[in-house]
């Protein structure tokens, strides 16, 4: 049987890759994809603990995380479209309308 730590280390690596994408990329859509990567790595942690502890609650929490991720993707991409209409760019360095 694969030990629980292997799943947790894999999930940590995926989370860090996602965090690196959020910090280093300037394309708003790729930043969104990196956030999805991070959400997925947390889901993997929850499912791993759920299976190893024999408790179904973790998998139900994953269900809710997926719902929130779907809502977040819909609203976030709508914001990207609205910003693109206004500024003609998805470069996060040029989107500074809340900053003066």
């Amino acid at each position: 049987m694969v030990p629980l730590q292997s799943y947790l280390v894999l999930s940590a690596i995926l989370f860090i890759i996602g965090a690196f994408g959020v910090v280093s990329r300037r394309n708003a859509i790729i930043v969104f994809m990196s956030i999805e990567l991070m959400l997925n790595s947390v889901n993997l942690t929850l499912v791993a603990f759920s299976a190893y502890l024999g408790d179904v609650t973790g998998q139900i929490l994953v269900f809710f995380v997926m719902t929130v991720a779907a809502a977040e993707a819909a609203v976030g991409l709508a914001i990207v479209i609205a910003l693109f209409r206004r500024k003609r760019t998805v470069n996060l360095d040029e989107i500074n309308i809340l900053k003066w």
Partner: protein, 177 residues
């Protein structure tokens, strides 16, 4: 009997490590490719690997939902938006500022070493796992019976959240401002 058990153990670890390597590789390609379309395709590959990992953890329902919701619905949304905006290559985004990237690499490496150190040092306190029980844990029946009794209120709140997301996405994407 003992031999058969050993065989399943090796099969399980081969599956885990194979899927883990592909998942990490595709995740790295997602954050390093310039074109958003290629990133999206590698992200779909990553989602399929995670669905396979959920299956190795006996979470069948979550694995199916992962493919339906993430690889199906959310990624179609992403690809639609990428093609709608017609972004093409990111080269004109002038990703200069290498010092920012250096800081990002340093912070990620530091955080990763911390996390792995913590996980390795917590080895003895981890639950050993009893997969005899876990096999019927991830079925639709066991998740549904919990979801519609203990977690009924959060489930209903989720529907309101989705309604708000639909209305919000329509308002944001429709109006010209």
């Amino acid at each position: 009997m003992d031999n058969a058990w050993n065989n399943t153990v090796t099969l399980e670890s081969i599956l885990f490590y194979g899927l883990a390597v592909v998942a990490i590789g595709s995740a790295l390609l997602v954050v390093t490719r310039r074109s958003p379309v290629i990133s999206a395709l590698y992200l779909i590959l990553n989602f399929f690997c995670l669905a396979g990992l959920y299956l190795t953890l006996h979470a069948q329902f979550i694995a199916v939902i992962q493919i339906l919701v993430y690889a199906g619905a959310i990624m179609v949304l992403f690809v639609f938006v990428i093609m709608l905006l017609n972004l093409g290559d990111e080269r004109w985004l002038r990703e200069g500022m290498s010092y920012k990237k250096a800081i990002a690499v340093g912070l990620s490496a530091g955080l990763l070493t911390e996390l792995i150190y913590i996980l390795e040092s917590a080895g003895s306190t981890m639950p050993p796992g009893n997969f005899g029980k876990a096999t019927d844990l991830g079925t639709v029946e066991s998740i549904g019976s919990q979801l519609f009794t203990v977690f009924l209120f959060p489930f209903e709140v989720t529907s309101i959240l989705l309604l708000v997301a639909i209305v919000g996405a329509l308002v944001l994407a429709k109006r010209k401002f």
